[in-house]
């Protein structure tokens, strides 16, 4: 089932949560709504589910306007951040709830419900837990019960609100890989909300990056990471170094030192610009390269723990720059604190200041 939202506006008092949001999700896609808190991503998910009513705009399921349908008529599986399990019911009763509340004529027999529930508990790998209460389960197990409960009503889509938000790091990682596998098995259109870029990049087919009630960019993880459409996206996805500088004749002037940009798209006149360079796209040398593409800096600190060596540099104009180099490179250079070095950008992303969001 495809989901389409058109011109969605939602305000809470004087706060605009969503300001004209449009996008379409193809059937069977797994999409992440990614953004900082307050960006409107959860509100958008709740509007799709029918838990929130937009001030204006429409929601279409398979091209059909469902804006006026209530939650219970939309047949969406919704998984809440804090699980929202019925704590006075066993795991079995929780999962069976959606089937038990159906009108008598469409309600499956008790036998059929039992079969279905155990089938789902097997799917979420909780067969042995049917008679436990939610309080007797771990966070990851509770989230899986919530998922089984949502799947029991055979929803047309799955909406997950920060599904891994309240789990600890290890369980989180396992569960999101498992969610990806599950999605590949079920092929159900799924949307999940997250503020964790790593999670979105790892799990989703496509990412909708949101900020202040608007969509900044929609694209595959590869697109949004390597070709951010706005300063916000490049800042939000992964760490990045930010430089305020001037563009002159195809060259970027960092402080006073020029560096080749190569990517100024023919804008020749001098102007202010913001340049973003990811830490792993900076290299360190002891001598200036011939092409003049560099800036001078001094090593401030070195952290060699982890897969990459993180070096902090102080530039000539007293800004801090993060650089990530491999351990081999680090050993080859024999880098020491306070050493004078040249930083060489391998790839830069330029946003001129007349850029408007």
């Amino acid at each position: 089932m495809s989901i389409e939202v058109q011109r969605i506006v939602k305000t809470f008092g004087s706060f605009t949560a969503l300001n004209g949001v449009n996008f379409r999700i193809a059937p069977g896609e797994l999409v992440a709504l990614l953004g900082p808190s307050g960006s409107g991503k959860t509100t958008l998910l709740r509007i799709i589910a029918g838990l929130e009513i937009p001030d204006s705009g429409t929601v279409l399921f398979d091209g059909l306007d469902v804006s006026s349908r209530k939650v219970k008529e939309r047949q969406v599986g919704f998984v809440f951040q804090h699980y929202a399990l019925f704590r006075h019911m066993t795991v079995f009763d929780n999962v069976a709830f959606g089937l038990n509340v159906r009108p008598r004529r469409v309600r499956p027999s008790q036998e059929a419900i039992k079969l279905k529930v155990f089938e789902l508990l097997k799917l979420v790998r909780l067969e042995g837990m049917a008679l436990r209460y939610p309080s007797q389960l771990s966070g990851g197990q509770r989230q899986r019960v919530a998922l089984a409960r949502a799947l029991a009503i055979e929803p047309k889509m799955l909406l997950l609100d920060e599904p891994f938000g309240s789990l600890d790091a290890k369980v989180r990682k396992e569960l999101r890989q498992w969610i990806r596998e599950l999605h590949d098995k079920l092929h159900m259109t799924s949307v999940f909300v997250t503020h964790d870029q790593e999670e979105a990049l790892e799990v989703a087919d496509r990412i909708v990056v949101m900020n202040e009630g608007k969509i900044e960019q929609i694209g595959t993880p590869d697109e949004v990471y390597h070709h951010p459409a706005s300063p916000f996206v490049s800042h939000f996805l992964g760490s990045v170094n930010l430089f305020h500088c001037r563009l002159e004749g195809g060259k970027i002037l960092f402080g006073n030192a020029p560096a080749d940009s190569g990517k100024t798209e023919g804008k020749q006149e001098a102007r202010n610009a913001t340049v973003y360079i990811r830490p792993h796209l900076l290299d360190i040398e002891y001598s200036a390269p011939a092409n003049g593409n560099y800036f001078r800096a001094k090593v401030k600190s070195i952290n060699a723990a982890g897969p990459l060596v993180r070096v902090e540099l102080t530039t000539e104009w007293d800004a801090l720059v993060q650089v990530e180099i491999s351990h081999e490179r680090y050993q080859y250079l024999g880098l020491k604190k306070d050493a004078a070095v040249f930083a060489i950008p391998k790839e830069v992303k330029v946003f001129t200041e007349d850029y408007s969001i």
Partner: protein
């Protein structure tokens, strides 16, 4: 030259000492365990246990025959029946309306909500005699409410109806105050989850919300019931106090005392006390039951 000035204290602690240390002396940053525990024990004994035991001791001075004669007398039985019936009715009414009031106070925002919330406590704060006089003035045949009710054929004062009114008034805060925190804890997400699974409003209330409130509702009602059993001050004004008709148990005890029938009063009182104990036990069981699916 170094010398030993005194023997270091090296007695090995005996078994009992270890046991006591292990069981009671949990090292805590909060001082004063010994002092506060002894005060608690003293307070409980002086204020509750000893007076209650005295009552049973007093009663035990009677022989079984006279004990049963006092309890089995038609007047005592009538008082027991009346007190239990009216208390139970008022607990039921408080259960229903307390739930409603708690729901409104927690779920909705309206001007004067704080004031309304404070008014709930009024029956706790008001001297019961004041409440009794106020209620009697209102519900007496010439009172504001009484006028209308008497026209409808409802005898709202000097009758069991009047007793129920008074008991409902004084028991009201129990249900509201027990339910309020439970309602506050009840996450709206839980109801949303039920809706998203296809449940209607009534199904969500009857299958999700009400079962979660039930333990609190029962506890609150049981407390209101227990309070109603012993209520004296507010009832005696509105009840009319006719033996066999509107004479409540505490009044009967009072009457017996005034007639210097101390052992008779003690007999009735100890029976009432027994009922209170049973209720207290029931409340505790309800509470434990309500916690059965909570975090362990």
């Amino acid at each position: 030259m170094p010398c030993i000035l005194f023997e270091p204290f090296s007695r090995t602690p005996d078994f009992l000492e270890i046991m006591i240390t292990k069981q009671f002396k949990r090292h805590s940053v909060l001082p004063g365990f010994g002092l506060t525990l002894s005060f608690t024990l003293f307070y409980l004994s002086a204020a509750a246990l000893i007076p209650l035991l005295t009552l049973f001791w007093r009663t035990s001075a009677m022989d079984w025959a006279s004990f049963l004669r006092v309890l089995g007398s038609p007047r005592t039985l009538a008082a027991f029946k009346l007190t239990l019936m009216t208390s139970f009715l008022s607990a039921l009414i408080n259960g229903a309306f307390g739930l409603l009031v708690a729901w409104v106070l927690v779920r909705y925002d309206f001007p004067g909500k704080k004031l309304a919330d404070a008014v709930v406590d009024l029956p706790f704060a008001l001297p019961t005699a004041v409440a009794g006089i106020a209620l009697t003035t209102l519900y007496a045949p010439n009172g504001w409410f009484g006028k209308c009710l008497y026209k409808l054929g409802i005898q709202s004062a000097f009758s069991p109806v009047g007793i129920v009114i008074a008991l409902t008034f004084i028991g009201f805060p129990f249900v509201v105050r027990t339910l309020e925190p439970i309602l506050q804890d009840l996450d709206v997400e839980i109801e949303e989850a039920a809706f998203s699974l296809g449940a209607g409003r009534w199904q969500t209330f009857s299958r999700i919300v009400f079962p979660m409130l039930l333990p609190g509702l029962l506890t609150g009602s049981a407390m209101a019931f227990a309070r109603a059993l012993g209520e004296y001050g507010s009832v005696v004004f509105i009840a009319g106090n006719m033996p066999f008709k509107t004479e409540i148990l505490p009044l009967l005890i009072m009457t017996k005392l005034e007639q210097y029938d101390y052992s008779g009063a003690a007999a009735v009182a100890s029976a009432a006390l027994l009922i209170s104990f049973i209720l207290l036990l029931a409340i505790n069981f309800l509470h434990a039951w309500s916690q059965r699916y909570q975090e362990v």
